[in-house]
């Protein structure tokens, strides 16, 4: 059936779904940042020639990160259902979707962090060490601040990916714009909804990207 919905109802549906998407993206990006940033730093400093070489830990973490990145997100989404139930208590809804989204995104972000830190001039690290600084000084005075533009660009990239992931969460009933698109656009052939969700997603991604770009440019400008 192809029942058309009236405008107020449409607006209501879109508003709720957009809210759910933003909720998922916000929470998941928060967790991705909280887990991925320290993990990326750890990956960098534990390298065999790093500041605090721990080759075994480095290999283990590297393998885990690669594992997380090698699974297609849809597979991860389904494979992680038991874990989600364990953590959130349910497998349905936006909150439940945050678990697989975070797990899908943080390994990616950790690698971005590791690469961003690797781009920092080694001489600046050496300068901090020569002053008598310890590894904490190196991380917080040199590595992270010096890599900030690259980290922000990487975060923007990750956010865009997260928006994509959150839409896919519709597959397991995660709510949000993806869910709406599947239930109305795909299962009920409602083109209004389909077009509207596509538009909102495009706007969202554009907004995130240009905000990120502006921040990075602003930082790079004074450096």
């Amino acid at each position: 059936m192809n029942r058309s919905i009236d405008w107020p109802e449409l607006a209501q549906l879109l508003l709720t779904a957009t809210g759910e998407t933003l909720y998922m993206v916000f929470l998941a990006s928060l967790f991705t940042l909280v887990i991925g940033l320290p993990l990326g730093v750890l990956l960098f400093v534990s390298r065999p020639a790093g500041l605090r070489p721990m080759p075994r830990l480095n290999r283990l973490l590297g393998a885990l990160v690669n594992l997380g990145r090698s699974l297609p997100f849809v597979v991860l989404l389904i494979a992680l259902i038991p874990l989600t139930r364990l953590v959130v208590g349910t497998t349905l809804g936006s909150t439940a979707a945050v678990v697989p989204i975070t797990i899908g995104a943080f390994p990616f972000f950790a690698r971005i962090v590791e690469n961003a830190l690797d781009e920092v001039d080694k001489g600046r690290i050496e300068a901090i060490l020569a002053m008598g600084g310890h590894i904490g000084h190196v991380i917080f005075k040199a590595l992270l601040p010096e890599a900030l533009p690259a980290l922000l660009a990487g975060l923007t990239l990750t956010l865009v990916m997260l928006i994509g992931f959150s839409s896919m969460a519709g597959v397991i009933g995660g709510g949000g714009l993806g869910d709406l698109a599947i239930r109305y656009g795909y299962q009920r052939f409602n083109n209004q909804i389909m077009v509207a969700t596509v538009l909102i997603l495009v706007l969202l991604v554009q907004g995130v990207q240009s905000a990120g770009d502006r921040l990075v440019r602003g930082l790079a400008h004074r450096r």
Partner: protein
């Protein structure tokens, strides 16, 4: 005092050592220049002095303290007393000039107020008070190095290590940075160890010099001593230079002297005594390591080789170094 004792550094098996049993002593108050081509091991040696690079064998003693025997936290404290400046400046681009200079003070745990006071004092010393709020990217190379020097001095070190600090700068800027280093050495009493591939740097400011090739120390000592030693290749390299080929048609010799007032009359006197007229072919006077050094190329007129040799021996006995060509 810094003592380097039999220090070797090997990076990989089968590779030639980057440093091969290097020993030298840097006395307090010295400006110690280590010369060498790129790849000679200068940089490795300098990095051994604050243990950024750990020697494979041998010891580094700073004021009698063996760096290798220190715990990690003791080593960090020791490093606070050894400033370092770099060819690439290595300033933090995310911080203003003022905040860059403050880094060692933050590491030392100084409070914000005394920190700021100290930073302004240092910026004044290096002549950059007006650039406190600028970012490193807005500065010229010479200005960046001045910030680097202010930063290196912030924690009040006794030693300053300079890793090719002027190699990326133009000659004029180099001269002003060298002047600043001399000022720091004289006024603040810092002992400076610098590595460079530029002879001119050693000539300009060093009291001591050493040369390094393929990881080995060829020569080392006070510049005056090196200059006076006819066997010293480094001493010869530091002498005033004039490009005058020797064609062998007449007996010629190079004279080196440190006392201008005495050398010329002495030469005249000896020339008259021996009845051997002399010709001055070339002359040069320079200040090397704070010492005036003169150089003369003389030729015997009439080509009496025996008499010429006698005259040279007489000069040598009176403290003028001579070399027959």
């Amino acid at each position: 005092m810094i003592q380097v004792q039999q220090v070797s550094k090997v990076y990989g098996e089968g590779q030639p050592p980057a440093l091969d049993r290097v020993s030298l002593t840097v006395p307090d108050g010295a400006v110690y220049g280590i010369l060498g081509r790129s790849g000679a091991g200068k940089s490795t040696l300098l990095r051994c002095l604050n243990l950024l690079e750990r020697p494979s064998s041998g010891r580094i003693l700073i004021d009698g303290q063996d760096l290798g025997a220190l715990s990690a936290s003791e080593l960090r404290r020791q490093r606070q007393g050894i400033g370092m400046i770099f060819q690439g400046f290595n300033l933090l681009h995310s911080r203003t000039v003022e905040d860059n200079v403050a880094v060692p003070l933050e590491i030392a745990g100084l409070d914000k107020k005394p920190r700021r006071a100290r930073v302004l004092e240092l910026l004044d010393l290096v002549g950059l008070s007006d650039k406190a709020q600028a970012f490193p990217s807005q500065l010229s190379g010479g200005q960046k190095q001045r910030v680097g020097i202010a930063r290196a001095l912030a924690a009040g070190p006794r030693y300053l290590l300079s890793d090719e600090a002027t190699s990326a700068l133009d000659p004029e800027t180099t001269a002003s940075i060298l002047q600043l280093l001399t000022h720091i050495n004289r006024e603040l009493g810092l002992t400076i160890v610098l590595i460079t591939h530029e002879l001119a740097v050693v000539k300009a400011i060093c009291s001591h010099a050493a040369s390094l090739a393929q990881g080995r120390l060829l020569e080392s000592g006070p510049v005056g001593q090196l200059l006076a030693d006819p066997q010293s290749a480094l001493g010869r390299a530091l002498l005033p230079d004039y490009n005058l080929p020797f064609n062998g048609s007449q007996p010629e010799a190079e004279l080196t002297f440190f006392d201008n007032q005495r050398a010329a009359p002495l030469l005249q006197q000896l020339s008259r005594q021996q009845g051997l007229p002399l010709k001055v072919l070339a002359a040069g006077v320079e200040t090397v390591g704070g010492q005036r050094v003169g150089r003369l190329r003389i030729a015997a007129v009439g080509a009496d080789a025996g008499k010429f040799q006698q005259l040279l021996s007489a000069l040598t006995r009176r403290g003028i170094r001579s070399e027959r060509l």
